[in-house]
Each structure stands twice: as structure tokens, then as C-alpha cells.
């Protein structure tokens, strides 16, 4: 264990950076440059701290590492309790890598209210990291909800024409799910009598079976909306299409994973028996999502919408993997979360780049772009292949592991899900063909610039990661596996003991003290 409180540092650095920006004016160009430099510095610092965490991470260890704990509200058993394991580590790295990338991307895109935008992104990073490291329900919930506000602003202030509708819809959907989770958390707290919001304590002692169904339903609903699992996905296309590119990247890259992370960290291991009862339902919804998302993506004429629906499909794989209840499914699920973050993040960036040049995202407006923008075309093709799951790129490893895990559990679902891979190839390749190739570029597209240096810097790290994770996933898999193994054991526990007999409850308020003394006397023999 290291001496520095690395996790706290990592989580709150962006917040500090954001607060610092309050004092930096953005009225003129120099001020805007200062704002951008400061926020980038803090994002990079956060990345550096997360790299230190990665370097110090102990492999072959399933438990929580870098744990920090401090009393917060002792009366309720609430503490500031953070730590990470092999399941949260990859997602944390994903967050700290994507944030500077979108900051860099937004340099050329967001010219209006720059300071507020950078602040929102930094606050958002703190919220996301906080969710991934929280080991206390209260803390988790604070980050989980607190994160909504900056995202709401990002969509609502810098979004497209229907941005306000999309922002409000996004907020209300997520909120509706999470408040029920709050009720479930409180119920769990009083039902177990543990008088603590420590997640690990509750993970060790699953609640009795009679209650698991309700509590699991409340937790799972909250996360299912966030993932989103079909049929709760309707907020997603709106939010994605209206959000500015940076918002879409963070939304798809990290925030959707909070749903699957929540299922994995909380809903399933807290209520293992109920989770297994619900597994057929979730696997069904997952494959419906995979196929439905792919089919709807196929008929989109807007590239951004296509990418948005492909997310529904890809995250269906993650859910399928988790509900396979085996090691392959679990570690594949985690890996797929990261892969989807990288490839879909990159796809949204690419869509943003082309949109900023042509101010249209309609597939029919393009064609033959590859001839005008060759470098762009190469990046686009690689990213699409990664999203499809071509062997040698990152998408393949995750999807393959998940399918293997799912096959182990239920060949039927695995087969249906595999058709999703084929469909993904269809809609992505078809889109590529219509946008990049397919005849000569129309006159409007002839003057398009190829990628600039900034855009290179934005995409190159992601492309490198696609190859890196595709060719040599071992380092990251080694870190995931012990925790995934422990997780599989956790969710396969049998908890069937029934509800303890209820304590008799007083129907009336306690009597006044001096009267009580009298009544006691009456009872005495």
C-alpha cells in the first residue's frame, strides 16, 4: 500500500481543477486558452495518478486495494470509504484516458461558454471516478446522482436543436430509476440490522431470500435504465444525438458502463439468489437488445444515431456475459465494457469531426470521402472494425469471451447473440461503404480537409489501445481475472434462508414516563 491517498487524489483532482476555473475569466481568447490549459493539466494529472494506481495494483489479489476510509456521518454508519479491484480498475483507466481526450477534442469545437463547459467535464470526471471507487452506499449514491447535473448541463447547453428535451428526458429517466434504488438501499440497511452503509459488509451477508426479489428489482431497474437494457433504452438515442461530441463520448464511453458496473458490483452479488431467478429474463432482454439495437442501427440514415443504437447492441453483450454467471462471461463483460468505451468513444469523435466539417450527419450526404480524406478514412475503418469485433482488434476479445461464457450457460442465447455480431458487421460495413467509398465524392465534399494535428492526437491514443488490447490483452486480463473469479463465487452463493420472524411492533407511541412507572407497578405480581 502506498502512503499517498492515491484514490482520493485521483477522484478529487478534477473537482479542484473545476473549482479553480471559477476564478479564471473566459471573456477573451487568452482567457479561454488559460481555461483550457488548466483543465487539461488537471485531467492529465488525474491520468498520471491513475497510472500510478495501475502500476501499484497487485495482481493475483481479488479484494479491494488502495483502500481509504474515514468517518463521515457516524450516526448512520456512513463513511467515506473508497477502494478498487480488478473490476473497477479498467473502468477507472477508461475514464481517466477518455477525459483528456475529449477535453482536447473540445478545444476546436466548443467556443461558447468555454469555462462552464470545461468545469462540467471535470466535475463529471470526479462523479464518474467516484462511482467506480465508492465502497459505501451513501457515497456511491452521492456520486451517482451528483454526476447527472454536469451531464445534464453538457447536453442542455451545448447540444443540438432538441437539446433541452433530450437533457430533461435523460435526467428524469435516470433519476426515476435511482430513487427506487435509494429506497432499496434504505430498506436493506434496516432489514439486515447491520446499521452500516458499508457495501462490503452487505456483500458478505446477503439478505434473506424473501426480500431479495424486491430489492434486486429496484437496484436492477436503476442500472437497467442506465445501461440501457431494452426496453429502457428510449432516452439513449435522444441524449446521444443531441449531446455535443464530448458529451456523447463520455456518455457512451463511461456513463453507460455505470449501469453494467452497478449490476456487477451491487445488484447481482448483493442479491445472488434473486439475480439467478431473474437471469432468464435479463438474458432474454439482453439478446433482444443485441438484435434489436443492431436492426435499428441498420436503418438509420444519421451516422450518430447509428452509433447510438449500436451501443444498445454492444451493451446487450455485456449484460449477457454478466448473467452467464461464469468466469468467461464476467471477465469478458468487463473487457467488453472497456472495449466499447474505446471504440464507440472513437466513433463518436469521428462522427463529430465529420460533422464539424460538413454540418450534417446524414449518410446520404456523403460518399467517396476516402478519396478526399484518406487518413480520416483509415482511422474510421480501423475503429469500425474494432467495433465490429474483428480479430486482432480489441472488440474481438471481449465479444468472443462473452459468447463462450454464454454458450456455457445457454447455447440458445449464445447463438442468437452471435447473430448480433454478424448484424454489426452488416450495419457498420454498409455505413462505411456509403460514407467512405461508393463512387465519387459530391462537389460539396470535395473541399473537406483531412485530419489536423489536434484530431490526430485525439484519435491516435484510442487506435493504439484498440491494437494493444486486441493483440495483447493479457496485462489487463490478469488484473481483471482474480476479481472476476471472486465475483463469480459471490454470485453463485446459495442464500435461501427465510425471513426471520418479525419483531412485534408497538402500535402506540411510548407512554409518558411518569405514567409508565404506574403501569409497570400494575403489571408486577
Amino acid at each position: 500500500m502506498s502512503e499517498l491517498p492515491l484514490i482520493t487524489l485521483m477522484v478529487f483532482l478534477p473537482l479542484i481543477g473545476g473549482l479553480l476555473l471559477i476564478f479564471v475569466g473566459d471573456a477573451d481568447e487568452a482567457g479561454r486558452a488559460r481555461v483550457r490549459a488548466i483543465s487539461m493539466a488537471f485531467a492529465l494529472l488525474t491520468l498520471a495518478v491513475s497510472a500510478a494506481v495501475y502500476a501499484g495494483f497487485r495482481e493475483n489479489f481479488a479484494g479491494m486495494q488502495f483502500v481509504e476510509r474515514a468517518e463521515w456521518i457516524p450516526r448512520f454508519g456512513i463513511s467515506y470509504y473508497v477502494g478498487l479491484d480488478g473490476i473497477s480498475l479498467p473502468l477507472i483507466l477508461l475514464t481517466t484516458i477518455l477525459t483528456p481526450i475529449v477535453l482536447l477534442y473540445s478545444w476546436g469545437e466548443v467556443e461558447k461558454r468555454v469555462r462552464l463547459f470545461q468545469m462540467a467535464l471535470l466535475f463529471l470526471e470526479t462523479g464518474m471516478l467516484g462511482v467506480f471507487v465508492s465502497l459505501d452506499f451513501f457515497l456511491f449514491y452521492v456520486f451517482w446522482e451528483g454526476m447527472l447535473i454536469p451531464m445534464y448541463l453538457i447536453i442542455g447547453v451545448w447540444g443540438g436543436p432538441r437539446r433541452i428535451y433530450a437533457a430533461v428526458k435523460f435526467f428524469l429517466y435516470t433519476m426515476a430509476g435511482s430513487v427506487l434504488m435509494l429506497v432499496a438501499i434504505l430498506w436493506l440497511y434496516f432489514e439486515t440490522g447491520a446499521e452500516t452503509f458499508d457495501i462490503l459488509v452487505h456483500l458478505d451477508k446477503p439478505v434473506h431470500y424473501a426480500l431479495q426479489g424486491w430489492l434486486f428489482a429496484a437496484f436492477a431497474l436503476s442500472f437497467a435504465i442506465k445501461v440501457p437494457i431494452f426496453p429502457f433504452h428510449t432516452w439513449l438515442p435522444d441524449a446521444h444525438v443531441e449531446a455535443p461530441t464530448a458529451g456523447s463520448v463520455i456518455l457512451a464511453g463511461v456513463m453507460l458502463k455505470m449501469g453494467t458496473y452497478g449490476l456487477m458490483r451491487l445488484a447481482m452479488p448483493l442479491f445472488p439468489t434473486a439475480a439467478r431467478d431473474f437471469a432468464p429474463l435479463f438474458m432474454t432482454l439482453a439478446v433482444i437488445g443485441i438484435v434489436y439495437g443492431a436492426l435499428v442501427a441498420m436503418v438509420q440514415d444519421d451516422i450518430k444515431k447509428l452509433v447510438a443504437y449500436s451501443s444498445v447492441s454492444h451493451l446487450g453483450f455485456v449484460v449477457l456475459g454478466l448473467f452467464s454467471f461464469n468466469l468467461l462471461g464476467a471477465s469478458g463483460g468487463v473487457l467488453q465494457m472497456v472495449n466499447h468505451g474505446i471504440s464507440t468513444g472513437a466513433l463518436f469523435l469521428i462522427v463529430g469531426m465529420i460533422y464539424s466539417r460538413r454540418h450534417t450527419r446524414l449518410i446520404s450526404d456523403f460518399g467517396g470521402i476516402a478519396r478526399v480524406m484518406p487518413v480520416f478514412a483509415v482511422f474510421f475503418v480501423i475503429t469500425s472494425f474494432s467495433s465490429i469485433g474483428l480479430p486482432g482488434l480489441n472488440g474481438f476479445v471481449g465479444e468472443f469471451t462473452i459468447l463462450a461464457g454464454a454458450f456455457d450457460r445457454s447455447p440458445f442465447f449464445a447463438v442468437v447473440a452471435a447473430s448480433g455480431v454478424v448484424l454489426a458487421a452488416v450495419y457498420m460495413l454498409w455505413m462505411l461503404q456509403r460514407v467512405l467509398f461508393g463512387g465519387d465524392p459530391s462537389p460539396a465534399n470535395l473541399g473537406l480537409r483531412d485530419l489536423g494535428v489536434r484530431e490526430w492526437c485525439v484519435l491516435a491514443p484510442l487506435i493504439a489501445l484498440m491494437f494493444g488490447l486486441g493483440l495483447y490483452p493479457k496485462p489487463i486480463l490478469n488484473k481483471i481475472e482474480p476479481s472476476a473469479k471472486a465475483w463469480v463465487e459471490q454470485v453463485n452463493r446459495r442464500v435461501l434462508h427465510v425471513k426471520p420472524p418479525p419483531e412485534p411492533r408497538l402500535a402506540r407511541a411510548p407512554a409518558p414516563v411518569f405514567v409508565e412507572a404506574r403501569s409497570l407497578k400494575a403489571v408486577r405480581p
Binding site: 471573456a27 468517518e71 463521515w72 456521518i73 457516524p74 450516526r75 448512520f76 461558454r113 462552464l116 451513501f138 449514491y141 452521492v142 456520486f143 446522482e145 451528483g146 447527472l148 447535473i149 445534464y152 448541463l153 442542455g156 447547453v157 437539446r163 433541452i164 437533457a167 430533461v168 435526467f171 428524469l172 433519476m175 426515476a176 430513487v179 427506487l180 435509494l182 429506497v183 434504505l186 430498506w187 440497511y189 434496516f190 411492533r505 408497538l506 402500535a507 402506540r508 407511541a509 411510548p510 407512554a511 409518558p512 414516563v513 411518569f514 405514567v515 403501569s519
Partner: protein, 496 residues
């Protein structure tokens, strides 16, 4: 039989005495030195309130459970202590807001501050007694001051309408309250809650029509004061018509006092009323939350929106009352904590409404706030914090307060009521965030140049002080609530 002189604990009476003396001093000063300068009067009022707060705080440590003066007419226990502090804070901020409000310039200030202080003394008497008649007297002192305050701008038609409406309906409700007390007196033979409780303990009256009807009438009377559905009809019109500073005061202090009295009655004798009474409160809580929130969505005037929002918040507090009625100690602490947070965030929101007015002209349409995030960034940021807190989102006090009340209700076994409550807070998010939408996602209206006003904002120093207090408290109560939660929980124990 020799006459027995009641025991009087003077040190515990000091807070109320200070406030009354301060009110008289303000009134006299204004009468003899007719100056146009409000600064001194405001300072005198604020000092009075601070002194009363200091007296309360210094009386609290070492308090032996509680002290009963005048044979139960005045009770100072930890519960009264917390409510006193809360009321004094609310009045303090209200005075700051009042001093900031431009439109009061034309009206005489002395009576205004004196009335606020008299109202404050009435509220303190309501909270610090276990005698039903004293509750009524406190309520009347409070209400008479409020009726005058609501119509304070004499030449404002809407203000007059508000005052008259408030007066007529308020008197009607006071009649209900008094009638209910009379019935309980008839059934249980006393107006002292402790005596009633001991009588009920040996003679169960949960089937006695006079007792139950009396309790019902009291619920109506106090339900009116806290604007619980279905006794809420007066609130939106009065809130809209009254001067904004008065509305701010009205939406917090009187509500706190009426709820404190309500809690005391319910905690001491409500337990003997049986399941039916709980059911009534349950339905009232659910209705109040739902109606308040649903109707708030459609409001175009910010004062009306905040009126319905305060109705909804009364509903959340009623959830705590339902849980407290079951004998859940956590609920009373939650109630106190909620009221404290509510006071700060609601007063803060009204303060922004007052401060955003320009040149004596109030801007109360929600559309007036368009683009305020860029024209008046400080005010808008403060407003955003209050809205987020009112919506009950972390990391603000509003979240912790809701968390507190909901956990008490779940502990008492009211999971479904809490489900209703959380779904309501989702509804409420819609209209609270709409203000953020308007402030940040819409462009400033015509005639307002974004770049031109980017310089330092002009906010009166009174408003600034009030806002600073409210913002810091709202965030502090959300981020580091441990100590105050502890204080509220310890204050939740009533003297029987």
C-alpha cells in the same frame, strides 16, 4: 387551599423576552425618530434575533431534559431549543431579504421589522409549549402579524387581495383549531398535552367521537397553516400577492412553528388515536406531495411555483410525522433537520428572486430568468444550488434531509409511502431543473447584452449576506452533515 405560584425558569424564557423587547424597541425607535434610514432598524432587528439565538444556544448545554415554566404554558426542552434556533435563523435571513427588497423603500420600515419580530415571538411560543391554548395564542400572535405583513404594500392591489384572502381563510382555520381544542378538552378534561396523555393512557378514547373529531379539527387547523392538501388553496395566491420578502418569511417560519406544534401534539397524544389517525396522516402526506409537485409543473410565475413547491415540502415533512406517530425517534430528528435545510434553501431561492429584480421592479415570471446564468452568473449559480437542493439531489442539504426522513419512514415500516415520496421527488426535479434550463440553456431576452453585464454584478449587501449564508449552509448541510444530524437527533426527544 393556598395559591400555588407556578415555577418559572427565567433563563429559558430569555430568548422570547429578547425578541418581544426588541420588537417594542424597534417600534418605539421608529415612532420617536422618524428617520428614513432603514439601516439602523435592520441592524437593531438583526441584533435582537442574534441575541435571542445566543440566549437559546447558551441555555441548551446542561439542559436537564427540559424545563417547565408556568405550569406547562412554556416548555423549554431540546426540541423547543432546536426549533427556536431554526425560527430565529429564518427570521434573520428574512430580515436581510426584506432590507434588500427595493419596493419596501416607499413603505415604512419600522413597523415591518417590528411585525417580523412579533411574529417570531408568536412562533417561538407555539413551539415552546405543551398547552393547547398557548399554541393557539402563539398562532394568533403570528397570524395577525402575517396578515398585516401580507398587505404591507398598501397601494398594491394584489397584496391587498392576498392579505384579505389570508385573513379570511386563516380566521376560519383558527376557528377549526380552537373548536378542536375545545372538543379535546371536553373529552379529556385538560388543555395540557401531558395531562391529556396521562388521561388517555388510563382511559382510551380512540373510539370517543369528541376526541377523534377534536383531533381531526386540530389537524385541519394546523394543516391550513402548513398548507397541506386539501387545505392549501390560500397558499399560491397569498404567496404571489404578498411582497416577496414577506412570502419568503411566510413560507418558512410559520410553517416551522406550525409543524413543531403539530409534532408535539401528535407525539404526545396522537399515539392514542389509533390506526385511523395514522391513515389520515398517510393520505394527507401522499396527497400533499403529489398535488404540490404536479401543480408546480404548470406554474409560470416563480413565486407561485415556489408556493406549490413549499406545499410539496410540507408533504415530505408529513411523511416524517407519520413515522414519528409510530414512535420512530429518528423521524423527529429527521423533521428538525429537514426544516433547517428547507429554511435555508427556500429563503435562498426567494432571496434570488428579490435580488434579481432591477430598479425596484420585480421579475417574477420564470421567463424573466432566461439566460441569467450568463448575465448574472453569481445569482444564477446560487439559484441553481438552491434548486438542486430543493429537488433533493446530492451533494446538497436537500438530499441529506430527504435521506434522513425517508430512512426514518422506512424504519417505521412505511416503504410504500417512501416510494410515493421518491417518485414525487422525480416529478419535482422537472420543475426545479426547468429553472436551470431557463437560466443556462436559453439565451438572455432581448435588450440584455451578455458581454456588457459580464462585469461585476450589483447585488445589495443585505441580499449578498443572506445568499452567502444560505449557500454555505445548504452545501455544508449536504457535505458535512454529521454534527447537525447528531444535534437534530438529540433534539428529537421531547419532554413529556
Amino acid at each position: 387551599m393556598t395559591p400555588v405560584f407556578p415555577v418559572i425558569h427565567w433563563p429559558y424564557l430569555l430568548p422570547v423576552i429578547f425578541v418581544v423587547l426588541g420588537a417594542v424597541a424597534v417600534l418605539l425607535w421608529d415612532t420617536f425618530f422618524r428617520s428614513r434610514d432603514r439601516t439602523f432598524l435592520a441592524a437593531l432587528t438583526l441584533t435582537t434575533l442574534a441575541a435571542a439565538g445566543g440566549a437559546t444556544l447558551s441555555a441548551l448545554p446542561g439542559l436537564p431534559g427540559g424545563a417547565v415554566s408556568f405550569g406547562g404554558m412554556f416548555v423549554f426542552d431540546r426540541f423547543s431549543g432546536f426549533v427556536f434556533i431554526l425560527i430565529l435563523i429564518a427570521s434573520f435571513i428574512s430580515v436581510l431579504i426584506a432590507a434588500a427588497q427595493m419596493s419596501l423603500d416607499e413603505a415604512p420600515a419600522g413597523e415591518y421589522f417590528a411585525l417580523i419580530l412579533f411574529a417570531t415571538s408568536g412562533m417561538m411560543l407555539m413551539a415552546g409549549t405543551r398547552n393547547m391554548l398557548m399554541i393557539f395564542i402563539g398562532l394568533e400572535i403570528l397570524s395577525l402579524s402575517l396578515y398585516v405583513l401580507a398587505g404591507y404594500l398598501r397601494f398594491d392591489l394584489r397584496g391587498n387581495e392576498a392579505a384579505l384572502k389570508y385573513f379570511l381563510l386563516g380566521s376560519f382555520a383558527a376557528g377549526f383549531l380552537l373548536f378542536g381544542m375545545a372538543m379535546i378538552y371536553g373529552a379529556a378534561g385538560s388543555v395540557d398535552l401531558a395531562r391529556i396523555a396521562s388521561h388517555l393512557h388510563s382511559h382510551p378514547l380512540s373510539r370517543n367521537p369528541a376526541f377523534m373529531l377534536g383531533l381531526g379539527f386540530i389537524t385541519v387547523g394546523l394543516g391550513f397553516k402548513v398548507a397541506a392538501v386539501p387545505f392549501n388553496m390560500w397558499a399560491p395566491d397569498v404567496y404571489e400577492g404578498a411582497p416577496t420578502a414577506v412570502t419568503a418569511f411566510m413560507s418558512v417560519g410559520p410553517k416551522a412553528a406550525a409543524f413543531a406544534a403539530f409534532f408535539r401534539i401528535v407525539l404526545m397524544v396522537g399515539g392514542y388515536a389509533g390506526e385511523n389517525f395514522i391513515a389520515v396522516l398517510w393520505v394527507m402526506a401522499a396527497l400533499t406531495m403529489t398535488v404540490g409537485n404536479l401543480v408546480a409543473i404548470w406554474q409560470a410565475n416563480i413565486k407561485r411555483m415556489l408556493a406549490f413547491s413549499s406545499i410539496a415540502h410540507a408533504g415530505y415533512i408529513l411523511v416524517a410525522l407519520v413515522a414519528a406517530q409510530r414512535g420512530e425517534a429518528l423521524a423527529t430528528g429527521g423533521f428538525l433537520y429537514y426544516l433547517l435545510v428547507y429554511s435555508f434553501m427556500n429563503l435562498g431561492a426567494f432571496c434570488v428572486v428579490v435580488a434579481s429584480g432591477r430598479g425596484g421592479e420585480e421579475r417574477t415570471r420564470i421567463a424573466d430568468f432566461a439566460g441569467m446564468g450568463y448575465t448574472r452568473p453569481v445569482l444564477a449559480a446560487a439559484m441553481a444550488i438552491f434548486m438542486v437542493s430543493l429537488a433533493g439531489l446530492p451533494p446538497t442539504g436537500g438530499f441529506v434531509a430527504k435521506f434522513y426522513i425517508f430512512s426514518a419512514a422506512i424504519k417505521a415500516g412505511y416503504v410504500w409511502l417512501v416510494v410515493v415520496a421518491v417518485l414525487n421527488s422525480v416529478i419535482s426535479v422537472y420543475y426545479y431543473l426547468r429553472l436551470i434550463v431557463v437560466m443556462y440553456m436559453q439565451e438572455p431576452g432581448a435588450g440584455v447584452d451578455e458581454g456588457a453585464v459580464a462585469g461585476p454584478e450589483r447585488v445589495s449587501s443585505y441580499a449578498f449576506a443572506a445568499l452567502l449564508l444560505a449557500v454555505i449552509a445548504t452545501l455544508e448541510l449536504g457535505l458535512f452533515p454529521g454534527a447537525v444530524i447528531e444535534f437534530a437527533l438529540r433534539s428529537g426527544v421531547l419532554l413529556n
